[in-house]
């Protein structure tokens, strides 16, 4: 199929291949050329060879010397290039010695005339030309590295930014930390010093509170018991409460350090809730410790093992019942935490939501699951990561909901998402959301807010919510936006559509998702030029290790650098056709070179212990 003149202009440096038969003597235009996007597939299948092929920019306006069939790559002997003004000298060196052959094109001097270098066959070639010899302007070598998405010149503030614009603190959130060193059972729930006691017999009330819950057990897991078998982990939650009448996202929050709530469970038949790639097994082998959504090494787990009615593990009410039953325990702890003595506070942290007028405005769009069942999120509960007062985003129709960055950090999302352990964002993830923190604290950008949008099941609904995202951003009017998604699959359809809706309004956009091998995008569009892959696994797969492939600080830094570069008008290089983990390494290096700050990379599954038997085999092999 031929291409438009505009498209040809965009793809000037792509190979020129005829889309249909063309007669000798014809002057080549975009109508004669095939869409370069399809070439990779044709080359892979051996149907097309692009060796020596000229670029679209070369052949436009040139005369065809010979009648050719469709899909003929246009080479020098087929096209009369002489009619075209010489733009740049070209080297033609068969790569005998690879490094020497990469001479690169040299820009023509402004004084007229052309420098032509022709090398018939090359080996160990060094060409050195004094800069002055080329006339007034020096020749600029255009070095084209392998096409890779590169963050470009990061960390450059917008030139127009005025230093006099003062930062405005919109609202503040204070976190008071209470240290817990021991969790035990006792006659009543209480907090004494650093010891948390949970009332014995509370399990029965949890079970009675939910029709679908048939059993609930509480396990208190201390660090020396990490090598314990557990059913699939549905969620990891901070234990926190608001002081007085404070609302989520503002005022003061009290939080327990060193202890987390962990929800796990099965149905009566022993089928894991959130079947498919469940993370059941030994805790120490299945958790990527220290990820934003995960427990940290040293945390004590208050783990509920919930048994729900048979065959409800895949229905919406099942997982919700497991979460609600667990929240009954959390809520009892919240009540004692509210009353805890001020002297027990070990640390106080303040988060300011700062607006920076005059700086580039950015918005974070977070796509959250909304297909139903465990693909759901409870939004804006009364207590941090609570249940009471929250609305499931499936019931809201998955439409965009605008929240403040501080609401995100204060547990406005109670995550039910249960599928794909390695890429799911659990409740604790939002509590420590790296992208929100990174952007909020960056003095070069003005974070306006966070837009949460659900991902429905049916395509028509996906496009419905996606158009609302476009309109929401149009109303906000930012310079740049991040679009993030957890997991992969059909939610990549709306992910792509959000990027399109935002991009076509002239807003620069960077997408973030787990992709790599297994999560490769299903669709794309011309606005999807800047993407950050959240993958951390060795093989680029969903490796069933809890939160292994979720968004971490290292990804947030890359995405922010990429968006800044885009907003400054720099081009982000095209990605390679297949997943290549080196792109990430190179971008990290580029970013830290510019910022002067080393970026520490998180560990992946290879740092976890292997089961003894497996290790034995592995060591003997």
């Amino acid at each position: 199929m031929s291409i438009s003149a505009e498209y040809a202009e965009e793809h000037k440096s792509s190979p020129a291949v005829l889309c249909c038969r063309a007669e000798e003597g014809v002057v080549l235009s975009s109508h004669n050329l095939e869409d370069p996007e399809i070439f990779d597939d044709l080359v892979d299948q051996g149907l097309l060879k692009l060796d020596g092929c000229l670029t679209i920019g070369d052949v436009l306006g040139a005369k065809l010397l010979k009648t050719c069939d469709s899909l003929t790559p246009l080479t020098k002997d087929l096209v009369a290039l002489a009619d075209k003004p010489a733009e740049a000298a070209k080297e033609e060196a068969p790569a005998v010695v690879a490094p020497a052959a990469s001479v690169g094109a040299v820009a023509a001097p402004a004084l007229g005339g052309s420098l032509k270098i022709h090398i018939g066959e090359g080996k160990g070639i060094d060409i050195q030309i004094p800069v002055g010899a080329l006339g007034g302007t020096s020749g600029v070598p255009v070095v084209s590295n392998a096409a890779q998405a590169v963050a470009g010149n990061a960390g450059v503030a917008a030139p127009g930014a005025v230093a006099t614009d003062e930062e405005v603190v919109v609202r503040s959130l204070t976190r008071k930390h209470f240290k817990i060193t021991e969790v035990k059972r006792g006659p009543e729930t209480k907090l004494e010093g650093t010891v948390l006691t949970i009332r014995e017999g509370i399990e029965k009330e949890c079970v009675d509170s939910q029709k679908l819950v048939v059993d609930l057990k509480i396990d208190i897991i201390t660090p020396d018991q990490y090598h314990t078998y557990s059913n699939t982990i549905m969620d990891v939650q901070p234990i926190a409460t608001k002081e007085g009448d404070d609302e989520v996202g503002t005022g003061t929050t009290r939080v327990l350090d060193g202890v987390v709530m962990v929800v796990s469970g099965t149905d009566e038949n022993g089928v894991q809730i959130g079947e498919f790639g469940s993370s059941e097994g030994y805790l120490d082998e299945n958790i990527m410790w220290g990820r934003p959504g995960c427990p940290d090494k040293g945390d004590i787990f208050i783990k509920t093992n919930v048994t729900i009615k048979e065959k409800t593990n895949m229905e919406r009410p099942g997982p919700l019942a497991a979460h609600t039953a667990t929240d009954l325990i959390t809520d009892e702890i919240r009540k004692v935490l509210k009353k805890a003595d001020e002297s027990l506070v070990v640390d106080t942290e303040t988060f300011n939501q700062v607006r920076r007028p005059g700086k580039k405005k950015v918005v974070i769009v977070k796509e959250i699951m909304g297909q139903g069942a465990m693909h759901d999120n409870l939004l804006l509960p009364v207590e941090p990561v609570g249940v009471l007062g929250a609305k499931p985003n499936v019931d809201i129709g998955n439409v965009p909901v605008v929240v403040s960055p501080l609401e995100i950090l204060d547990g406005c999302i109670h995550a039910l998402t249960c599928i794909g352990p390695a890429s799911k964002e659990m409740s604790r993830h939002y509590w420590r959301e790296p992208l929100v923190l990174e952007v909020l604290h960056d003095h070069e950008v003005d974070l306006t807010g966070v837009v949460l949008v659900g991902s429905p099941q049916i395509n028509a609904e996906k496009f419905y919510v996606s158009r609302r995202v476009g309109m929401t951003l149009e109303a906000i009017g930012p310079d740049g936006a991040f679009v993030t998604t957890e997991g992969f699959g059909n939610n990549h359809i709306d992910f792509a559509s959000h990027i399109e809706q935002i991009g076509k309004r002239g807003i620069k956009v960077v997408g973030m998702s787990f992709c790599a091998n297994q999560g490769a995008l299903v669709v794309g569009n011309k606005y999807m030029t800047s993407m950050v892959d959240n993958n951390k696994s060795e093989g680029g797969i969903e490796n069933e290790i809890l939160a292994n492939n979720t968004l971490c600080t290292e990804d947030a830094i890359r995405a922010l650098s990429m968006l800044k570069a885009e907003m400054a008008g720099e081009e982000v290089k095209k990605a390679e056709r297949k997943w290549n983990p080196n792109v990430k390494t190179q971008n990290i290096e580029l970013v830290s070179n510019v910022t002067g700050k080393p970026i520490e990379l998180v560990e992946n599954e290879t740092s976890l212990p292997m089961s003894d038997k497996f290790k034995e085999k592995y060591m003997n092999a």
Binding site: R316, H375, G487, N491, V522
Partner: protein, 81 residues
Amino acid sequence: MAKYTDKIIYMEGIIVEVHDGAVGIDLKGRLGFLKIPMRMLISDYEIKVGQEVGFNMSFIEQLSPDVNEKYISNIQKRQEP
């Protein structure tokens, strides 16, 4: 790594189970049964039992003769009363 992943075969199936979080699919020609999470089904219409689905797949190959003890241990746990 599997060796024959480039042998792409077009397959069809019938939706036989619809849950809030998953669908069950019988592969046409009695070639097996597949249960997938909702997220992995691309749908333009309301999902109903009896609808047909299509997809490309390849052969399923063993990756090595080794047994992963982690999965054995999980299976054993599941079978415990």
